[in-house]
Amino acid sequence: MIRLEKRPQPSRAWSMATPLVAVLATMLFGGLLFAALGKPPVEAIRTIFWEPLFGEFSFYYRPQLLVKGAPLVLIAIGLSLGFRAGIWNIGAEGQYIMGAIFGAGAGLAFYPLEAFYIFPIMVIAGAFGGWLWAMIPAVLKTRFGTNEILVSLMLVYVAEQFLASVSLGLLKNPEGFGFPGSRNLQSWDAAHNAELIAGTGMHWGVVAALIAVIFAYVLLNRHMTGYHIRLTGEAPRAAKFAGVNPTRLVLFCLGTSGALAGLAGMFEVSGPSGQISIDFNVGYGFTAIIVAFLGRLHPVGILLAGGLMALTYIGGDIAQSNLQLPAAAIQVFQGMLLFFLLAFDLLTNFRIAIGKPEVA
């Protein structure tokens, strides 16, 4: 008989190994899925994981890894703080949108001025926009005990409608021949989040993501607030006795994750995307949830997981054009990854025992 026995301590080895096992399982089942779609499974998997890094056109795809990975890491770092404390911000997509709108809006107010201070203002405005949007569920939770999961998610839909509204109205390009969408920030130097080193994909968002990783690592390991976050997640009752202020913690976790998501949106709109448009958001806020879990809510893990997830995005695009693999297949692939990760996590906390339990 197979039983599950709870481990006295979570296994460190399995905690490190489960993401890898989950990735392998996803490759296997993803391959089966691609085969079911009538695509060559091995080639599809190779296209997704090998082609962007070492393929013929990798000089083009490698920079993309940073471009796609930066927003994912930036958002996921913020989410992981809350997730560790049992505070569930799942509306990062909305905060990402609001960050982009605030950032672009603050910049466009100065158009066509060329000044060094415009970009920093946009950065601050972007972070503020995301922070503000995350403060809504935070304040409602601390004031009225409202469920932050539902509120933050509802606000994603509100933000999407707001995005549509500003790209058709407030921020619409007056010289855009009536097409929806704002001015292109890429063609305006003062607001352009350009590559710092040409051809590497390295832009300010990547720098911010790396700083966020270091910041989160220090916070969690060397700072009282980080200790409170971990304590609240692992032993809520002990946290209460230790005098952790839950209100402050909720405001801090949601606020930080909102600000980081807002930054991600701002760097995206001023850099790779270039403009506010109706379909500006592509689901980074939701994929970042997978990144956060895949990285085991650990800053360094998230950095690696963000890279891997960026790889599936780029590889997915290549597979789409080379093998006509549908875009949705990649979405399923990413969803599968989270599934397997959660399933294999069982081995971290439990041991599988074979045989009859001893009589106590």
Partner: protein, 306 residues
């Protein structure tokens, strides 16, 4: 702007149609939560049900068969959630989210060849005399059969939870799974059943959107209705009849908002489209002060240590 173009009788009739997917999903989730499980994957199960029902209805030509397939698809997806949370002891919030992300991708993949296809029509019932009555006829006696099924289901769930032994056991599991386990009830088995019931209901709700309410298939067409259904369960304080009331309220908001858009009110379309989500938040705020009626074991995993 021409508000007189809005016909109140048609408004109420279409309100009931708009409310039905919400009602079905919320009743399912209510049972799941009563058993102490929080399944945040409603949106994913709904959209999967929507495409499964749509595909089967188109291929077979029978909308009813489509609804059956949708229920099966929703239940099948919910089994994945059950495996994660009940067997693998995974966090329920994370597992529910993964179900939604997976369901959205899966439905987009399955639905590619169905974009722009017209599904077979589900006829409305017609009772001689009654359906022809003015006002009352179109509101009470002129709908499709699934809409009535939703109301009957609400009554059935209410009765089972309140008066049957099964309902008592289900509630016991949701209130205190350790005590229920000590009494010899199979906690995991009962929760598995509840989760599958919730999945089937969500699937039905999804198919109602793609087959009757819209009716066509577009990617991500559930547009947060699954999440509103989750909020509705809180709104209803885990009581079936209040879920019905809530569903009609939200259905009303949606329909009025759409009618105002059509009538060309001076408010921009985007702000009107925000309103159901904003109202959900407001309602959640008003009602979240009282959490006493929530099942005590909600969201906590059960592992029998002996």
């Amino acid at each position: 702007m021409d508000l007189s173009a809005i016909n109140p009788v048609l408004l109420i009739a279409s309100l009931m149609v708009a409310a039905t997917p919400l009602l079905l999903a919320a009743i399912g989730e209510l049972v799941v939560e009563k058993s102490g499980v929080l399944n945040l994957g409603v949106e994913g199960m709904m959209i999967t049900g929507a495409i499964a029902g749509f595909a089967v209805a188109v291929e077979s030509g029978s909308p009813l068969l489509g609804f059956v397939a949708a229920a099966i698809a929703g239940a099948a997806l919910s089994v994945l959630f059950a495996i994660l949370t009940q067997f693998a002891q995974a966090n329920q919030v994370a597992s529910g989210l993964s179900l939604t992300l997976f369901g959205l991708g899966l439905s987009a993949l399955l639905g590619q060849s169905y974009v722009g296809v017209k599904p077979p029509q589900m006829g409305d019932i017609h009772i001689p005399v009654l359906s022809d009555l003015p006002v009352v006829g179109p509101i009470l006696f002129g709908h499709d059969i699934i809409l009535y099924f939703g109301i009957v289901l609400t009554a059935a769930v209410w009765w089972v939870l309140k008066y049957s032994r099964l309902g008592l056991v289900l509630r016991a599991v949701g209130e205190n799974h350790d005590a229920a386990h000590a009494l010899g009830y199979k906690v995991l088995k009962i929760r598995l059943m509840a989760i599958m019931f919730g999945g089937a209901c969500a699937g039905l709700g999804g198919a109602y959107i793609s087959l009757i309410r819209v009716p066509q298939w577009t990617e991500g067409m559930t547009a947060g209705i699954g999440w509103i259904a989750l909020a509705l369960v809180v709104f209803a304080s885990w009581k079936p009849w209040r879920a019905l009331l809530g569903a009609y309220l939200f259905g009303g908001v949606t329909v009025v908002q759409l009618n105002l858009q059509a009538a060309g009110v001076a408010i921009p379309v985007e702000y009107l489209a925000m309103s159901p989500y904003l109202i959900t938040i407001i309602v959640l705020v008003i009602l979240s002060a009282d959490k006493s009626s929530a099942p005590a074991s909600l969201g906590r995993n059960f592992h029998a240590s002996r």
